[in-house]
Symmetry: C3
Subunit: 134 residues, 3 copies
Amino acid sequence: MPLIRIDLVEGRSNGQITAIADNIQKTLVDVYALPERDRFQIITEHPANRMIALDVGLGIERTAQVVIIQIFTQAGRSTEDKQAFFQALAANLGAVGVNGEDLIVGFVENSPADWSFGFGRAQYITGELEKPGD
Amino acid sequence: MPLIRIDLVEGRSNGQITAIADNIQKTLVDVYALPERDRFQIITEHPANRMIALDVGLGIERTAQVVIIQIFTQAGRSTEDKQAFFQALAANLGAVGVNGEDLIVGFVENSPADWSFGFGRAQYITGELEKPGD
Amino acid sequence: MPLIRIDLVEGRSNGQITAIADNIQKTLVDVYALPERDRFQIITEHPANRMIALDVGLGIERTAQVVIIQIFTQAGRSTEDKQAFFQALAANLGAVGVNGEDLIVGFVENSPADWSFGFGRAQYITGELEKPGD
């Protein structure tokens, strides 16, 4: 279960936003072999002056169409897996109009006991869902 | 100190939203013996197409009134305690109109030094507040 | 890389909000020697009844102008450093109209492999950026 917060500058069409959300999920399914229906996304649009993303000194020139993606998910993925995910994500989002220079991504990790997907049950603990990595 | 982000689909009344927020807090107080005034909640309403929550393969049929709750709080609670919390939360929110199938919850953990509740002081460190578990 | 979520009650002017965001960044640069352009902030305004912040029993009397700041950043800073940050932040925000009693701050930690600042690269891992603490 990743819970994904997608924050972006307002001005994209509904179709573009849907394509971004779909391609984030597609990348998770492709790279992490996530079940297709393991999808939890909260999308928030902001005025341009409410999202600030500078270049950290990397010389990145961002446009006004920054996208910040926060992925809350279980710990246990390797650095190499994260790198593969970032790379595939940039390719998949590039295909739907998110420039590489506008794409900022961060993982925040927790553990299987931290999730309930419905009915007040911790489905990774009850065994209704297989724990990631099992 | 939990900081709770409550994201829900727009369309509920102010009274319903207040009841949801109140019952989340009541559950924390009841299950975790949290002080009643240890309450920090940020509630955000979203258009239905900006919150996506599928069923992870569990066969859950969600309505259009999904509620996603993120709880940022100190590490140290057991899996059993989290399960008790999820269960009580579903019961308490069920009583105010949140269906079990629409309730998604995730914990994200930090530590006592990570919080300041006012005046730039880390009150768990200064001793103004007792550390959880002490 | 800290990613900072700044949630505040609506009603402040654009100039006030910019001053708050600027002073959060200034504090990070001053206390943590962060590069000035290592700045990532998402600012969200909320109706007053959508942000609830009680006093935890500390006797803090908040106004209607609460500011909650969440800092997602790499692990590794000491308790003393966090205390210094909280203290400097309260001073710097006090100078731009955020009362100490309205300032709530929480850290959530991750690691260098968890970030990509653009182009799908994990710049702390590729060596394009020096890891914090190196």
